[in-house]
């Protein structure tokens, strides 16, 4: 039996099967056990747009990838080292992704002519030589599962459904993991189902584990030793971006001491935020599933007019529909948080795939001059902080704020150091004026903006002695009355531009994630590319390249020092999952030359893709001298 400690201290495992095979459950439970083992990890589910695509087809393949290691893990990994393929379609789809020499565990029971036909496979891949570069372990997983589950009285189809637990058991053995936490979790999960569901699945789990351990085949099944990763002392949990973002919105409500009213219409990949928040009523959150995207945005604005924190959430196509309403909230100077879980586009695009292509939409995508603050989250755990920050800006400046996340962040998970709520400042609203009986005095008080933030007082409908009218018609700067005056419209347009600029007075200076504050090359990113860039820059720095990483949270306005900072590098490389939107923005705002690295394949960046771009743009002479 071989025990392998992965060379670079990390290993990528991918589970793949039919969308009804329970692959996501298998993967997420393996991730849970990885967390308890103290390794760092990052996961990414990769599932089809179809809920239940025809069984056995390539487009029905669902996958779950995890990168785990005894070092800092920043992405779900480039190329899997281990693939568990539950059917031929899963093998066919995922084979091109694998690392040469990868270990493949195959469920041979599914390798039938019928399944080959469904997956459009001409010949059994085990016989064509296409697996020659890999280490293949063939296991009759379905047969083994049925055998193990037989005594528990499940129907054949129900018994076969347990094969994800069987595979989980085998993989747990491979990584030397404890089965107890999985058993405890399953006991809870199946508590309301027939008792055979629990006993059957646990039998499969144990059988898979025992098979890997004792079967004569075990010589072929290697064991991997992945140690604990160095992480700061503290309490951790595994969290997806969608869940962290939801908790962040609830936290913002707590910090502002206001209700959060979250209004949304179901859309992939944004819906999980709605699902999480709807279970947070005890945290002062209420969710409203509106009749459409427009209604969702308008109801959120209505809630803000009533003094609650109005939040709406969608993905690109839905954001497009909300656009007119967002302009109104900006014009009426009401707070609103708009969460965009970006997906592959344009139009309906690739709903389940990830992209960063709604940056133009967030910054420029409204009729007329309608500037808004835009911020982006860099990863699952960061969604918590980003949601608080977006809400803080919305309330301080009385404006809609875009919070950009994406399909990768929404669904990806990793260990998250639990934040201490005491570390967050309360979110203060601009104090409403005292009740005014004089109509003119009242109007002036209501539109009396804070000179530094340019945010007006938040006067909620219902406040005594402060009734007033707001709307989308241009209003007089001082009284809020409808105004068609030429000078006033110019002044209001200037004011709206200055307000967004004023946000820059309240945000931190741009920092450098890794590397020096000047040098031959800075890799600048925003959003979910953070992890891939981090690893690439980290690795080239270890090789001696003088490269820095800079990651933007604030996209509108940009931090005040950004232009100065970026001016200190000879070259700027900007990887992003679009055709160059942030690069255009930085050229526009800062007049810089940017080297673009664009990817719109629906998949996140691979570390190697960024590595290659760095080495191509960083001259060897820029290498840090070993002596230094």
């Amino acid at each position: 039996m071989s025990k392998i400690a992965p060379e670079n201290q990390s290993i990528v495992v991918r589970f793949a099967g039919d969308s009804g095979d329970g692959v996501q459950l298998l993967g997420s439970q393996f991730a849970e056990s990885t967390a308890l083992a103290g390794s760092d990890f990052s996961t990414f589910p990769d599932f089809p747009a179809e809920i239940r695509a025809p069984i056995g087809t390539t487009f029905g393949v669902s996958a779950f990838q995890i990168n785990l290691g005894a070092r800092r893990i920043s992405t779900a990994g480039d190329a899997p080292d281990v693939l568990v393929a539950l059917n031929p379609a899963a093998l066919k789809v995922n084979l091109p992704l694998l690392q040469k020499g990868a270990l493949i565990l195959l469920n041979t029971d599914a390798f039938t002519d019928r399944n080959f036909a469904k997956a459009n496979i001409a010949a059994d891949p085990r016989k064509t030589g296409e697996l020659d570069d890999f280490q293949v372990v063939e296991i009759a997983m379905s047969t083994q599962t049925l055998e193990a589950v037989k005594p528990h009285g499940l129907s054949k189809s129900d018994a076969e459904q347990c094969k994800n637990f069987w595979a989980l058991g085998a993989v747990l053995w491979m990584f030397g993991r404890d089965r107890k936490p999985i058993e405890d979790w399953a006991t809870k999960k199946f508590a309301k189902k027939a008792p055979t569901a629990l006993t059957g699945n646990l039998a499969a789990l144990n059988a898979g584990h025992a098979f890997a351990e004792t079967a004569e085949l075990s010589a072929e099944i290697p064991q991997f030793v992945v140690g604990e990763a160095p992480m700061a002392t503290g309490d951790y949990r595994s969290i997806t971006g969608a869940e962290a973002l939801s908790l962040g919105l609830a936290a913002a409500g707590e910090l502002a001491d206001r209700e959060v009213i979250f209004c949304s219409y179901p859309i992939t990949p944004a819906s999980p935020i709605l699902h999480h928040l709807t279970r947070m009523s005890d945290l002062g959150v209420a969710t409203f599933q509106a009749e459409d995207e427009i209604a969702a945005c308008c109801a959120a604005i209505g809630a803000s007019f009533g003094g609650a924190i109005g939040v709406t959430s969608s993905s690109g196509p839905g954001i497009a529909l909300k656009t007119e309403a967002i302009g109104l909230a900006m014009s009426a100077e009401l707070p609103l948080v708009i969460v965009n879980s970006q997906r592959g586009g344009p139009s309906t695009g690739l709903p389940t795939k990830t992209e960063q292509s709604d940056l133009y939409q967030a910054i420029y995508g409204r009729n007329a001059d309608a500037p808004l603050p835009v911020i982006a989250t860099a990863g699952p755990g960061d969604c918590f902080d980003a949601a608080i920050e977006a809400t803080r800006i919305a309330i301080r400046h009385m404006t809609p704020v875009f919070l950009l996340t994406d399909g990768y962040i929404a669904n990806a998970a990793g260990p998250w150091a639990l934040p201490d709520m005491k570390d967050f400042e309360p979110i203060l609203s601009n104090t409403p004026p005292a009740a005014q009986n004089d109509a003119t005095e009242r109007k002036r008080a209501i539109w009396n903006r804070d000179p530094s933030s340019l945010g007006r007082p938040w006067v909620a409908a219902g406040m005594k002695g402060l009734n007033h009218r707001v709307g989308g018609l241009e209003k007089d700067m001082e009284t809020g009355d409808i105004s068609y005056e030429a000078d006033n419209h110019q002044a209001m347009s200037d004011l709206r531009a200055r307000k967004v600029e004023a946000v820059a007075d309240f945000i931190p200076d741009q920092d450098v994630v890794q590397g020096n504050t000047k040098g031959p090359l800075a890799v600048v990113g925003w959003g979910s590319t953070h992890g891939a860039i981090w690893r690439a820059v980290h690795d080239v720095r270890e090789q001696g390249y003088d490269v820095a990483q800079i990651h933007l949270r604030y996209l509108s306005p940009l931090p005040k020092n950004l232009g100065r900072l970026l001016g200190c590098y000879d070259k700027i490389l900007l990887p992003e999952m679009n055709m160059g939107q942030c690069a255009t923005l930085l050229r526009d705002k800062l007049g810089l030359d940017i080297i673009q690295l664009n990817k719109v394949s629906g998949q996140p960046f691979k570390i190697t893709e960024i590595l290659d771009a760095i080495t191509a743009n960083c001259p060897a002479k820029a290498k840090i001298k070993a002596a230094e």
Partner: protein, 335 residues
């Protein structure tokens, strides 16, 4: 004690900018007077509108007001009611705003039964965009966008509301404050979405389009003011609606001279959706226009059910610090 509020206390300092003679003036006056009659609190009253002539309404009401975007007023009002269910919220819309661009939202605010009032000013024309035919225009309406006469079949606002699941449906006429005012009061008192269609005369683009039943000479003859529990009589009690069991519809019959007696006349039951459906879809020829509270059948209001369903009435009972620890939390100790 402050002096009682008068209609003037509900007016703002803004110059009203509808065309001279527009029916909207009469409705504005009627609403202001009605709110004074019930001594409504201007700070607890909100008018929410979309886009169109009618949607200028909030600017002229001394209350909270939100002039929003085209067709979406019901959605803003819904969000507002969720944030503060105690507010008395009025949605002011028109036939284009409410039944064309905003038809979807009208449908949903009614079926959800959000506790607010929807006043739909129906003038069967687009006024603010200068006179194009609207979804309630009669076929053949000549307008800048239908010079040869419109070809669309019109929607009946009342039948639409009933089909959407509205629990309160009423009708009035802009200049008939005597009958409109009690309808508005009833709408305000109703717990749930109250839908009031107000026939409004667009003096510029669709003048006197409702003359056949609004004109003083014909009003008595052609309007049927329904009352719960009373026979459906009109024309000073000389005519009535009689149920025809063969066709499941009503016939307009003459009493005495026409051979029918008052006992033959269908008695109005405002909780009966079948009667409401018949009244809302009466043919134009030979039938009166039903007015007043045609349907009133209470059901739980959405804003109340919403907070019941969410528990805690929106009160924060938990702490985020505890919520963060839900699920599997592990401790990491650095050596």
């Amino acid at each position: 004690m402050n002096a009682p509020l008068t209609a003037k206390d509900f007016a703002t300092d803004q110059e009203v900018r509808w065309c001279p003679g527009c029916g909207d003036y009469a409705i504005l006056k009627c609403v202001q007077k009605m709110l004074a009659d019930v001594q409504a609190d201007p700070d607890q009253t909100v008018f929410v509108s979309g886009i169109g002539c009618s949607s200028r309404f909030p600017y002229y009401m001394n209350a909270y007001g939100f002039h929003t975007i085209h067709g979406r007023a019901p959605t803003f009002a819904t969000g507002l009611k969720l944030a503060n269910p105690d507010l008395d919220v009025w949605v002011v819309t028109g036939d284009g705003d409410g039944l064309s661009i905003g038809g979807n939202h009208l449908l949903h605010v009614l079926r959800r039964n959000v506790n607010l009032q929807v006043l739909l000013f129906n003038n069967e024309i687009y006024g603010l965009t200068k006179g194009q035919y609207s979804p309630t225009s009669r076929p053949g309406t000549r307008s800048p966008s239908s010079p040869g006469g419109s070809i669309d079949a019109p929607v009946s606002a009342g039948a639409f509301a009933l089909g959407a699941g509205a629990r309160f449906i009423a009708r009035g006429v802009d200049t008939d404050a005597k009958n409109l005012s009690p309808v508005l009061k009833a709408a305000r008192e109703f717990k749930g979405a109250s839908f009031v269609e107000i026939f409004q005369n667009c003096i510029v683009y669709n003048k006197d389009v409702f003359d056949d039943f609004v004109n003083k000479k014909q009003a008595k003859e052609m309007q049927l003011h329904v009352e719960h529990g009373k026979p459906l009589l009109f024309a000073n009690g000389t005519k009535g609606l009689k149920l025809n069991p063969q066709t499941l519809s009503v016939d307009a019959v003459e009493i005495a001279g026409g051979g029918a007696s008052e006992t033959d006349i269908l008695v109005h039951d405002e909780t009966n959706p079948a009667i409401a459906q018949m009244l809302m879809t009466l043919p134009k020829e030979g039938f009166p226009m039903p007015m007043g509270v045609i349907y009133r059948n209470p059901a739980p209001a959405f804003d109340e059910s919403f907070w019941t369903a969410h528990g805690n009435k929106g009160k924060r009972t938990g702490k985020v610090a505890d919520a963060l620890r839900k699920g599997s939390v592990w401790r990491k100790e650095t050596a």
